[in-house]
Symmetry: C2
Subunit: 119 residues, 2 copies
Amino acid sequence: MVELEAPQLDAVFHALGDATRRRMLRRLAEGERTVGELAEPFDMSLAAASKHIKALERAGLVRRRIAGRTHYCALEARPLAGAHDWIGFYEQFWTSRLDILEGLLRREDSQKTKGDGDE
Amino acid sequence: MVELEAPQLDAVFHALGDATRRRMLRRLAEGERTVGELAEPFDMSLAAASKHIKALERAGLVRRRIAGRTHYCALEARPLAGAHDWIGFYEQFWTSRLDILEGLLRREDSQKTKGDGDE
DNA sequence: TTCTAATTCAACCATACGGTTGAGATAAAA
DNA sequence: TTTTATCTCAACCGTATGGTTGAATTAGAA
């Protein structure tokens, strides 16, 4: 169990909400890459790619090592564990054919308990 | 394996990137809720909460059943499976103490294969 | 029919996002 | 030293986001 704080979850999920950044992470899974290498596959300016990388850093998903004029980026996967756990809670609602029954039961239930003021 | 399309992943992760919407999903895990019930815990207008719910619908995470003037929202967890899988790929990078070794190996590796033009 | 309740819609606002360009900063190469 | 390469920074732009308010829509309740 990792239980990230809400603001960190915000940053992680926000970072993942962009295909460019997701592709960058996939690339980093193969190993360290420079900013230039990370930017190369994309049809955008270096500055734009640099901003994406900063979003990943803000989320704690990338750590940067500066060597001279070159910045090496490495995957930092740990915060993903928290996001994974958060989503994992819902696995019960999509796994197996029980989910159909579950769904039906929850629907019934909400009819009976509608407006019971629970939090 | 679920493999959501990029645009759906965008929408799902974007939807999850907001604490208000995450809390709404947690609430919906207990059962169906009306728009009003979903909005109630939050210090914002109904209209604002309504927009959040629409973001969840766009991501396919909520389905709505209209009965008279009341809109009932229900959790639709399936798209979360795709997001869960996507993140799950990185589990190898955070699980167990192997991750430290892995990280070291990948760093070495990237020194040797730097600029090999892989995609 | 008239009142009230549950929601959305439309217009608006401030701020964030994702992109651009051009100008630094810094370090390696000539 | 001068040139070139790697990146960030700053300013700007259009569009999206997250919020507001007030009016419109629709349907139970009196």
